[in-house]
């Protein structure tokens, strides 16, 4: 326990320096600014804003990036409440009751409770990360390649179970993602694989390029298909501070949402995405009068928003302790860390304690910033949301181009976001979800590396994965999950959760 406080103390001594506070502030501000734009989720936002952190030193850069991430998350919720357009999967649930509240002239209260709930959830999640960081890092040290491989298999199975729609399609997307990750020079033999002999493919496909194409450009193309019917709330925003009554109604949902989100967020395989759905379902089940849900129940905003933020933060745990990015946003963080010469994993905490604890402390600071800067700026966000899409999307397009060009200074990268944009658009048209593809891509390289290493150690015996107890346990969990997800009765329930 004493360790925890001295570590957090070290963290705050770094996060609270004038410069780092400024960076956290700036990160939250620009993150929200871009994240608020309809159709721009956290992934596209971070990919776009990644270059602005290049000139900073590592600690400052990561603090700013974390700020951008929280800002983008909160911006997405703002859009969900005010315009009924979820920026990404996790804020889908917020549209249900949040937008209804806005229509009843209670947009301010919805935004307020979302911010306060998120702040509380963020505070708890910060403590969870600080508490779990050290023990999990020790756990990571006993992990060999076989365990890592099995853990990632489990993560991918999770992603399949959590994906919406057909399980077969989700599996196909994950496999395709791993296949894409094998493009480029083979690390062990140095031979080029599937590069068409093109020089710029020999380093493999850049993750930021793939993510920006599939999530940024494809989203623009998808939005262009539909004539725009954005219904920005015309009602007054109303008071921002929830009343005593509102608080009373929201306290329990915030607590439950935080617990649900924080525990799901730790799971590898994008468990965080399930948090808001689970929290909403729980609140609806527990409510005395479930019919209020979907008609502006404050619990329907407080619970999911807390879960969302708690999960967003605890999903740093697999990255910081095991070095495995659990979702696409964290994969971008890996990219950012690598640019600054930091390889995420258990060694970060021991080798760079300043960075590790400073970043954790800055998470809390970032949450506080969101609370302070967002509520007064709501008016600005509303105005931004009223800009018609025909002017918004060309601007988004140019930001994407500049952002991706500045990462590697390669015009081919810019062309490839166009190409992957078309690919992503085709996927959407064919009913495939792009998120599992990205996760497969993220974990693909790590998986291949660990698979090969494990097999070299075991001299080609595949049984190594079930002989080692930890690895066998992880694979068993994966198998059980998959079977359970395929059971007809559970499948029905799963579909219902996502339809709600």
């Amino acid at each position: 326990m004493g360790d925890l406080f001295s570590n957090l103390g070290l963290g705050f001594s770094i996060a609270l320096t004038f410069q780092n506070l400024g960076l956290a502030f700036l990160g939250c501000l620009v993150g929200t600014l871009i994240g608020v734009l309809p159709g721009v989720g956290p992934i596209a936002t971070i990919a776009m804003l990644l270059p602005i952190t290049f000139g900073l030193e590592p600690v400052g850069a990561l603090i700013m990036l974390a700020g951008i991430y929280y800002g983008a998350q909160y911006g997405g919720s703002t859009t969900a409440i005010l315009v009924n357009i979820p920026g990404e999967a996790t804020s889908v649930v917020t549209t249900l009751d949040g937008h209804q509240m806005a229509r009843q002239g209670r947009a301010g209260v919805a935004l307020g409770i979302a911010a306060i709930g998120s702040f509380f959830a963020g505070t708890v999640a910060t403590i969870v990360i600080a508490g779990l960081g050290a023990p999990l890092t020790r756990l990571a040290l006993i992990f060999g390649p076989a365990e890592y491989f099995s853990l990632m298999v489990m993560g991918l199975v999770f992603a399949v179970v959590l994906a919406r729609g057909s399980i077969l399609k989700a599996v196909a997307m994950i496999l395709l993602g791993i296949l894409l990750s094998t493009v480029g020079t083979d690390l062990e033999t140095g031979e080029e694989r599937m590069t068409f002999g093109l020089a710029f493919l020999s380093d493999g496909i850049d993750f930021a390029v793939l993510a920006m194409g599939i999530f940024g450009i494809a989203e623009i193309l998808r939005n262009l298909d539909h004539t725009e019917t954005r219904d920005v709330v015309r009602q007054a925003i109303g008071r921002l501070l929830p009343s005593k009554e509102d608080f009373k109604q929201s306290i329990a949902p915030v607590l439950r949402g935080t617990a649900i989100g924080a525990s799901l967020g730790i799971l590898p395989g994008n468990g965080a995405v399930l948090g808001p759905f689970a929290a909403y379902t729980v609140e609806k089940k527990l409510a005395k009068d479930p019919r209020r849900f979907g008609r502006g129940a404050i619990e329907g905003v407080a619970g999911p928003e807390s879960a969302n933020n708690a999960g967003a933060q605890t999903s740093f745990i697999p990255l910081l302790t095991l070095g495995i990015p659990p979702n696409a946003v964290m994969a971008l963080m890996v990219g950012a860390m690598t640019i600054h010469g930091i390889i995420p994993g258990p060694q970060v905490m021991t080798k760079n304690p300043d960075l590790f604890w400073g970043m954790i402390a800055s998470m809390w600071v970032g949450n506080l910033m969101l609370l302070i800067i967002n509520l007064p700026l709501v008016g600005l966000w509303v105005r931004l949301l009223k800009v018609p899409y025909r002017l918004l999307f060309p601007a988004i397009l140019m930001f994407c181009c500049i952002g991706i060009y500045s990462i590697n200074s390669l015009p081919t990268d810019v062309m490839f976001i166009g190409f992957f944009g078309l690919v992503g658009y085709a996927l959407i048209k064919l009913g495939f979800e792009p998120a599992p593809l990205l996760l497969g891509f993220v974990l693909g390289k790590l998986m291949e590396e660990n698979l090969r290493r494990a097999l070299i150690i075991s001299r080609g015996e595949m049984t190594t994965f079930i002989d080692r107890p930890v690895s066998a346990g992880l694979l068993a969990v994966a198998l059980i999950l998959l079977v359970v997800a395929l059971l007809p009765s559970i499948r029905k329930g799963r579909d219902e959760v996502f339809v709600e």
């Binding site: 989720g41 270059p51 602005i52 000139g55 357009i85 990404e88 999967a89 399609k169 599996v171 196909a172 496999l175 395709l176 791993i178 296949l179 094998t182 033999t189 031979e191 694989r193 599937m194 450009i217 989203e219 623009i220 193309l221 298909d225 725009e228 949301l385 009223k386 800009v387 025909r390 002017l391 999307f393 060309p394 601007a395 397009l397 140019m398 181009c401 500049i402 060009y405 500045s406 200074s409 015009p411 166009g418 944009g421 078309l422 658009y425 959407i428 048209k429 064919l430 009913g431 495939f432 979800e433 998120a435 291949e448 698979l451 090969r452 097999l455 070299i456 080609g460 015996e461 996502f498």
Partner: protein, 222 residues
Amino acid sequence: MSSPPDRPEAPDRAGPIRGQQSLFGGLALVALAALAFYLTRDLTQGTLRAMGPAMLPRWLAVAVGLCGLALAAVGLTKHGDRIERSGLRGPVLVVLGILAFAVTIRPFSFAGINTPGLGLIVAGPLAIVIGGYATPEARLRDLLVLAFILTAVCMVLFGDLLNLPIPVFPQALTGLFPADWSQKAVLRATAAILAAVGVGLLLATRRRGPAPADVADHSGRV
């Protein structure tokens, strides 16, 4: 993703294709798997003990292909979603805008064609104006104003404040300014001129009487 929940559409025509999305999705996967197989044809497979570069991609290609076949089979047997129709305008113009940015931002040569490096000052407005026409609601004047002002802001933000290594203007431009001006000074001056042109355009076109009725129509529907 923010796609709306799938709703199965009523099967309107009986035919061999029942689930269009599934069938074509499955076939696309099979095609990709075949492509991966073809591309890894010259690489060694290796053994489990010492995996060659081709082993994992080939296994994955087989798995993707099998998923594709299964999906195609589903498309032939079960009713499912049809593929939504879409115009070519959006994708073509957005991609053209991106390509225009890519080939003008810095000198680029491909297949014997060389482009001079024109920098952000040309690439930015090109991306905005060409890409902007992806929607039928596009209007040149608005796009030009947006392009000039936004590019000026980006030049100052990325080139001046953040010092990103992004080419901002063609080298030839420096010749137009007094020789003792620094790169930064030229950057600020050009950005200011660009912004002024944008604002001027905005004001000049606004003064020409009230805006046509359709303006209110479009912006009123936000």
